[in-house]
Amino acid sequence: MKIVKNLVAAYSLKAEFSARRNKLYRIAYSWCHDPALADDLVQETIYKALKNASRLRDIQTIDTWLYRILFNCWQDYLRVKGRNVEFVEMHDDDQADQSENYQQSQIVERVRASIEQLPLPLREVVTLADFAGFSYAQIAEITEVPIGTVMSRLFRARQNLKQQLLDFGSDELSEFKLRRVK
């Protein structure tokens, strides 16, 4: 009976992980800007999570736990490759040409490029906060830094992005109008 229970629990946990795979991939991509590497990081994360599932004491903390594993996988990769590794984003030209909202995709590209220019610790924190929606406390737990460091990194990241996007806003965006429906 215990075996059946454990099997059910394992399948249930696997389903929980799978449901989060897509978002894990997006976050990994936001850090490395390389689809293949993002895939590898997520695969490794899921593998480690399944292997260490017994360490997850509270299912409510599954998100923080999973992202912490992903973050550690990412840090391991950086340690092996060295922090000076340069990531080249794989652009999909066909996708851009076919887009109905080409200008909007240009803005997205610009925002990503601005994020890509951030020092890695700032990039990691700002994407965890503003893309993944984690609280300061959760980010502190995921990245294993004090909450004050999270605050200051987030502040510096947003200041940096604000400056870059303000410059962008005054030129390329000048033809856009506030959305009105008439």
Binding site: R26, Y29, A36, V111, I115, D130, K162, V181, K182
Partner: protein
């Protein structure tokens, strides 16, 4: 509070609601009187929103091709809408070209507050207020098309949403059976549980005085509040505002 003393890092904490309630209230109060401060908050919110959408569409994972196909259409449209809103903010803070007619308390004095609220992030539920203050055919048609489009988009994505349509001035006429050509169309919207219609109490009184007859509206329409009460209340709670 001297608003010049409010530092950027404090505003950063403010938009993430990481200050204690007293400090949050102090800044909220200061925002009412200080346009420059509202701009600073708006800029930070815009940055946060742009980062939030920057990775909603990414090159597909080799393990998630099927799921990606199913979600792309919604993400595409959601991103398009959101980016357009944010772009409005980016242009807004540098040009102010979109400012509505001065003198209208809702449309002008609180404009930046509205814009700031355009960029509030709510990943769980979309709450949208659609403001119609005109009976112009083109405006009303476009507004109702927008309402249909929003409902269809979020329904398809299985994302919960609330839509409140607030009418005032001549916009209330679209809710008058026997006067409005839109009654059937609006009834369909009202039949959707996620949609509510409001008619400004003050506009109804004014129309009554002007026309000398009772202003009869569709029975489902809420009429006991003014637009000036409803709109700022929703904005304070983080609703997205769309002006028809």
């Amino acid at each position: 509070m001297n608003t010049k003393e409010i530092t950027e890092d404090k505003l950063n904490l403010f938009i993430d609601e990481q200050l204690d309630s007293d400090e949050m209230n102090e800044i909220r109060q200061a925002l009412l009187d200080d346009k420059a401060l509202r701009e600073r908050v708006c800029q930070l919110k815009a940055v946060r929103e742009l980062v939030g959408y920057a990775y909603s569409e990414v090159p597909p994972s080799r393990y998630e091709v099927t799921v990606q196909k199913n979600t792309n259409s919604f993400y595409g449209r959601a991103i398009a809408a959101s980016i357009t809103l944010v772009v409005g903010v980016l242009v807004g803070w540098s040009t102010y070209q979109y400012s509505p007619v001065a003198g209208n308390v809702i449309s002008a004095e609180n404009t930046f507050q509205y814009v700031a609220n355009h960029v509030s992030v709510d990943h769980a539920q979309r709450k949208i207020i659609l403001h119609i203050d005109s009976g112009d055919l083109r405006v009303v048609n476009a507004a109702l098309n927008e309402a249909d489009h929003l409902l269809a988009t979020y329904r398809e994505a299985n994302t919960p949403m609330r839509l409140e349509v607030v009418t005032n001035k001549s916009g209330i006429n679209i809710l008058r059976p026997g006067v409005s050509p839109y009654i059937d169309r609006i009834q369909k919207l009202i039949d959707d549980d996620s949609v509510s219609f409001y008619a400004c109490e003050r506009s109804i009184e004014k129309a009554h005085k002007k026309e000398g007859v009772d202003i009869v509206l569709m029975p489902e329409v809420t009429t006991n509040k003014t637009a000036r009460e409803i709109i700022p209340d929703r904005l304070e709670k983080g609703w997205v505002y769309i002006k028809a």
